[in-house]
């Protein structure tokens, strides 16, 4: 039947977010007519500008048919094992936040419970040293995960070079017959019910569609024209200025470096032929910094207008949430695509999930600032996570958390939130037996790096340009 179906989509924004949306919609729904209005890049659109992703990017790439090998060969992406935190004011002086399994449970007892007790007794190494990804990260080694070996259970993310990644998306959407033209937002024609009837570019081109997607960055002129419901998270996330720069290439590193400091933090991410540098802070004085406004739209989907990427949620780049959330919102929009009338009960479910997911990500970032001693307002949802983990190592699952438990626990333990009491179940496992199993595990993992190629060698083998 499909008399309810959406037939056409207009996407405002020609950055990575907009092109990713175009590619994903075109793949999932080849019957759609898709037009991208390629607006001038917004410097504050962090999802489009920064190199970071999470391990969830593999699934998104699979859905749009982008092959990682092609990305590596073009130098558009390199694997990233984790983040090396230096000088964050709590936790160890240097620690690694990595994806993938850490340790192994003993019966019903989670590994982190046994680790926490051993740590308090002074007989556990740093948390990341019980994860294959952490061991490789620290030794600057890399291979892709290998099923059926001790290297089966780790995961990695990708570091993107936006300047090389975007053209690959462009080529992809062209193959998928997406129409695109360069333009800027001009104005909209409204329908009687308040929805959008047509979008006019600044030079007067008129685009009509059933659904309009604002992927143009935080200014979001299209989404703003129909609803101003921005919720400011400035009291929770303290930094609202970002500077981005480049340095000549240094030694290739499978980790991004995050360096804490008074009043902000810095990052370095090595890419083929260059290193991307950045600083995140709250100093208003400097002229070159990009202003961001942490927060989100309470309802990213209103009638037939959907805001994605920085147009929907603005966060600072800690842990690279920007593109991750953009891709997640695209997948969610496809999964929940409403009928042409965009009935409120259908868009409400999208908004419910989007809100919850963004809040979990905000809490995750806020955890880092809280531990660094920043004066922030702690959301109840985060207070509950910290209290339960600190008290007894219990991880509280919340709906729509796009971050895996292992990601949270890696951060909690790295930031020094070590459970103060042993979990009742873990008490049944002898401390000595647990410690000797941990030592055994460590000994096994410690032999890995010597057998594996260095990160730079491995990338060269994958055909990465230098």
């Amino acid at each position: 039947m499909s008399d309810r179906a959406i037939r056409s989509i207009a996407i405002l924004g020609g950055g990575i977010t907009g092109l990713s949306a175009a590619a994903a919609f075109a793949r999932a729904l080849p019957q759609l007519a898709i037009t991208v209005i390629e607006t001038p890049p917004d410097p504050a659109a962090l999802a489009d500008r920064l190199p970071g992703s999470t391990s969830a990017i593999h699934r998104f790439h699979a859905s749009i048919g982008l092959d990682e090998r092609d990305l590596l060969r073009a130098g558009a992406a390199v694997p990233r094992l984790g983040l090396r935190f230096e000088n964050w004011s709590t936790g160890a002086a240097t620690w690694y936040h990595v994806h993938g399994e850490h340790g192994a449970p003993t019966g019903a007892v989670a590994f982190h419970q046994l680790w926490a007790r051993a740590r308090r007794e002074g007989r556990a190494e740093a948390w990341h040293r019980y994860a294959a990804a952490g061991v490789l990260a620290e030794a600057s080694k890399f291979v892709h995960p290998q099923p059926g070996t001790p290297l089966a259970t780790f995961d990695y993310a990708l570091r993107l070079d936006p300047e090389r990644y975007r053209p690959m998306l462009t080529a992809l959407v062209d193959r998928l017959r997406v129409a695109r033209f360069a333009g800027a937002f001009g104005t909209i024609e409204r329908r009687a019910d308040g929805g959008v009837a047509a979008l006019m570019s600044a030079d007067g081109r008129r685009v009509e569609a059933d659904l309009y997607v604002d992927a143009s960055g935080p200014a979001a002129p299209l989404a703003d024209a129909v609803a101003q419901d921005f919720e400011d998270w400035g009291s929770v996330l303290p930094y609202d200025r970002v500077e981005i720069g480049e340095a000549p290439t240094s030694a290739a590193d499978p980790n991004d470096t995050i360096i804490g400091g008074a009043g902000g933090w810095q990052f370095a991410a090595s890419l083929p032929g260059k290193t991307l540098l950045g600083r995140v802070h709250a100093d208003r004085g400097e002229g070159t910094s990009i202003a961001i406004r942490p927060g989100r739209r309470a309802a990213p989907w209103v009638q037939n207008i959907l805001a994605i990427g920085d147009a929907a949620v603005a966060l600072d780049p800690l842990h690279w949430p920007n593109l991750h959330l953009a891709q997640s919102s695209i997948a969610r929009a496809i999964e929940l695509l409403p009928g042409r009338d965009c009935h409120p009960v259908e868009t409400a479910e999208y908004n419910r999930r989007a809100r919850a997911e963004a809040e979990r990500m905000r809490d995750f970032q806020a955890l880092h600032y809280l531990r660094a001693g920043a004066k922030i307002e702690v959301p109840d949802s985060l207070a509950r996570v910290v209290q339960q983990f600190e008290q007894r190592g219990r991880f509280v699952h919340q709906d729509e958390d796009g971050l895996l438990e292992e990601i949270w626990i890696s951060a909690l333990l790295g930031l020094g939130v070590v459970p103060g009491a042993t979990d009742p179940l873990a008490l049944a496992v002898s401390a000595d037996a647990a410690a000797s199993r941990m030592a055994e595990m460590r000994a096994g993992l410690a032999t890995l790096p010597a057998r594996l190629p260095g990160y730079a060698d491995y990338l060269a083998r994958c055909g990465m340009p230098t």
Binding site: S2, V345, R353, Q387, Q388, D399, E400
Partner: protein, 497 residues
Amino acid sequence: MNQPRKKMIVVGGGTAGWMAASAIARMLPHAASVELIESAEIGIVGVGEATLPHLRAYLQTLGLDEAEFMAATHATYKLGIEFRDFGKPGDAYLHPFGDFGRPLNDVPFLHWWLRMHALGQGGEIADYCVANVMAAQKRFSPPAADPDALLSAYSYAYQFDATRFGPFLRGFAEARGVKRTEGKIVSVERDGGTGDVVALVLESGTRIEGDLFVDCSGFRSLLLGDALGEAWEDWSHWLPCDRAMALPCASPSGEIEPLTRATAMPAGWRWRIPLQHRVGNGYVYSSAHLSDDAASAAILGAIEGEPLADPRVLRFKAGRRKRSWSHNVIAVGLASGFLEPLESTSIYLVQIAIQQLVDLFPIGGIQAADRDEFNAQVDYEYDRIRDFLILHYHASTRDDSDFWRDVRHMPIPDSLADKIELFRRAGRIQRYSRGLFFAPSWIAVLIGQGVMPQGWDQRVDTANPHELGQALGRLRVQIASDVATLPGHRVALGLQA
């Protein structure tokens, strides 16, 4: 270890009491000693003849042998709950413990079926559910271990004699150090300052002190309700049934159905739970719409075999205590709240409370935050189940009695109204990550009671209907023929065919 063991007192020796005592004795022997007080004078309700698949996890955690458990409780296998006459007289559908089909290209199976259904093809959605087809053929076999196998996409639960489950667990618990004390509690001593319960005094004059009191006293809610006066949140405006008339009868001859049946009745509904040695029956009704005598007559008229007892009436009210854990009292099961057994959730709620108690066990003393966490988890489960139960009454066109006219027009929680409308639009289910009732449950009940989506996921529109129809046809045939190779339920139980 560095903390002295807590002295945990369990009040009540029914299913909830022995489940709680056994779990703590098995899992936290180093953290707590357990004493259970029960009185032979006070009968047990023996609820929960029908269970959910989660009970298997409880048995496994304790290390109990399934075959021994089934023999001791005369248990049968259960693949779901069949609802008859709910949407309208003559309807029948199974709420199965299993999925409908499998996702195709990341799109849930439901949407592919909806498209074919709109073309008048594709058969019934139940034909794509292994549990459903098995139940219809009265066959049973445990799910295949290979997750790719067609015969792996379901789970199962048990139907058992609940009065035998407590005694079965008692042996287990006592062997693990649980002290059982026979006696009737006549008073509860509380600390004048903190309000915590300090000790219980038995009729014999014996005084039993404890650190932590687990109230499994059933509807009487001796500690949480009576002693602490925890407020009651009444849900009878949504779930007006407040009585049950229970009556076991002899098993009819022939194959045993691996399912619990709920049949709508003029003033409520009646359960039918086949065990190995008998059939449990009961009429759950609203006393405002039906007298006890009429209910008794109705259940006597409905049973299929010789009655094995006199009809017995149970009185209850839908709702729950505002907090299940207050001071040092943790209520488990009926002492914390009641939801009618329409979806066999009673033992599940017991299990959830026990699991949270194990997770949050106050080794170093009770923290307010842990108590709040426990209560939040219990609330979450109750709210979910409540909405799901109301759906069975709301999604109906029955017009043949005052009861049904009342319940189907009752105002419903907004949370439920949104879920129904979301499904009606295009077959979407509100998503959550834990608790009971995921997509297959909602699909079964909504479609089973006549809420048919008007649209579907647009991604299925590009499929060629002819090819899609053929693919669905092959899947139906495959399921039917795979299931036909499985043994009948009696054989699976080791009984004579």
